[in-house]
Symmetry: C2
Subunit: 337 residues, 2 copies
């Protein structure tokens, strides 16, 4: 999920402008993360956590929390705890994902499960998850705890669903959306919603920011899945066909399967369900996707979710952060525009 | 951690009497567990959870929560939610432990990681952990959330510590105690403490029940570790020497290492740290343990923790549940008495 390869606006990329605007808050978040990833007894915990946390991720999720709180006029410090909690949940899921996917690289570095072992990744992830709830408890809002524990359940449920749905041709767009919410959108939505909630914003504003986070996350993930097939614009910087080779059923193929004839269906059964792939199959997959306009339709979905994200913020009062979040929703789809 | 192989009192084993006394509450807990382990989208989640939850564990931890709440005169229903949350945390840690230890059997059945895969065990564990926090949020007490999120952090920290400490001869009794708290005592203590807290008990009573759970859990685990070396009473029903063969540094060996001469130390370095074990090594280990009275000293520690558990409950008003919990503390050490 790289945001670095797209076009740049004159005044910097939106996430960089967010980082500038929220620099002081983010410094406080980073201090708190360093403080809370420590362990009195088990040095392995900060070692593994630091490897991932300090690898230079963009901290997009904690920034969304901070932005939502500040946009709602928040003047306290609870949003810093919440942002650190959101980043801990994200880090815990990355550690567990890399075990589940047997990944070897993350953010350009060897994964923790490779450098240490699966055991450390599982248990340090559990530790960070528990620490994130301790941070939330300090915020003292049951509503915020409800938002983030529900998001955590959706994340895990989406990941389990992906285990069984990814290679099953019965997977439809509804199931895909559940998986995408688990992978990306649930934590985006919880990040913005909890920030607004901590700020004591009106229910309508809280809902607007939750809708924004959800739609932004879905758009983000659809773009990622589209770029895996090279996108319509032939954007550079991705290995085309990874998802196909790994037999991951994503939106373009789901759309093509929905209108497949018998021969095409047999092709998807062989390549995705049975995993019996031959030379030239990716080219044939691309040809089928083009035949059904599946890439164009996927692109339209990504743009629609990005538009929905922007619309959600439209009723909010003018604020530099509101504009940056709107720009961010444009930026997410800039790679396919 | 079997409670079944020890002496039986005339009126039944204490945990069976607890189960009888709390039968109605436990039925409500079991219903809630079945309800909350469901997943609208991912059937793999209830499959994996049911495999473990319905394998006939004794539900000792949720019973401790129910007992503590009822003992404090609680008449509401929140303790049922808490007990289910405690059992979900326990189930999540078992799923992750079996991945970490590459276990193949649990409660007499093949483990979930063997029947399904490591991925399912990791992700379903994450789901149950998130669901446990949702249950706690419904209880609506930040203090209870604090108790259980702190216990969850201690559990994960203890497990990470064990990864590095188990084969390191510098591991002393303090570190052993931290590991034991992570493995067993932290959740026992959180179970009783949160039950009392949910009942709105006085701070002194809450502390007493927390101390009881902690001491009971430590006693429980020391007995387990002692029986691995056959105990002084030659109790039947355990494979003697498993911990030694798996190079796990437990209390008997820690005590023997503390007073080892050069030759004994070389023996422990070779067998535990380097794992270079030969025929006859277990017998030699037993001889060294006897020479230093390490098994007797370990047994004395287990009895002292059991006594501490009972003393904690002494100031509480008379109640059948108080007496059953006291009997339970006796019962835990009955196997070594």
């Amino acid at each position: 999920m790289s945001l670095d390869t797209a076009a740049q606006s004159p005044s910097g990329k939106p996430h960089e402008r967010l980082a500038d605007f929220l620099a002081e808050d983010m410094e406080a978040v980073n201090s708190l993360i360093r403080e809370r990833m420590a362990s009195r007894h088990a040095p392995r915990i900060p070692e593994v956590t630091a490897h991932l946390v300090e690898a230079g991720g963009k901290r997009l999720r904690p920034m969304l929390t901070l932005a939502a709180a500040r946009l709602c006029g928040y003047g306290g410090t609870h949003h810093v705890h919440l942002a650190a909690a959101v980043e801990f949940i994200h880090t815990a899921t990355l550690l567990h994902d890399d075990v589940v996917d047997e990944s070897e690289r993350r953010r350009g570095r060897p994964t923790a499960n490779l450098l240490w072992d699966n055991k450390s990744s599982v248990l340090v992830g559990d530790y960070l998850f528990a620490r994130s709830f301790q941070l939330m408890v300090e915020v003292g809002s049951l509503r915020v705890l409800d938002i983030l524990s529900s998001a955590s359940a959706t994340i895990a449920e989406g990941e389990v669903l992906q285990l069984t749905a990814a290679q099953d041709l019965r997977t439809d767009e509804d199931i895909y959306l559940q998986v995408v919410r688990g992978k990306t959108a649930a934590l985006f939505a919880a990040a913005t919603e909890s920030g607004a909630e901590a700020a004591g914003a009106d229910e309508a504003v809280v809902r607007a920011l939750a809708t924004y986070g959800d739609a932004l996350g879905i758009s983000f993930q659809i773009v990622d899945d589209l770029l895996d097939y090279g996108s319509t614009a032939e954007v550079i910087g991705k290995n085309v066909g990874d998802d196909f080779r790994e037999r991951k059923l994503t939106l373009p193929v789901i759309k093509a399967v929905a209108s497949a004839d018998a021969e095409e269906r047999a092709f998807w059964v062989r390549t995705i369900e049975k995993g019996n792939q031959q030379e030239g199959d990716l080219e044939q997959a691309m040809a089928i996707l083009r035949r059904h306009n599946a890439l164009e339709a996927t692109r339209a979905d990504a743009l629609a979710w990005s538009a929905r994200a922007k619309e959600a913020l439209a009723p909010l009062p003018a604020h530099p952060l509101r504009d940056m979040l709107i720009d961010l929703a444009d930026y997410v789809v800039a790679r396919i525009n």
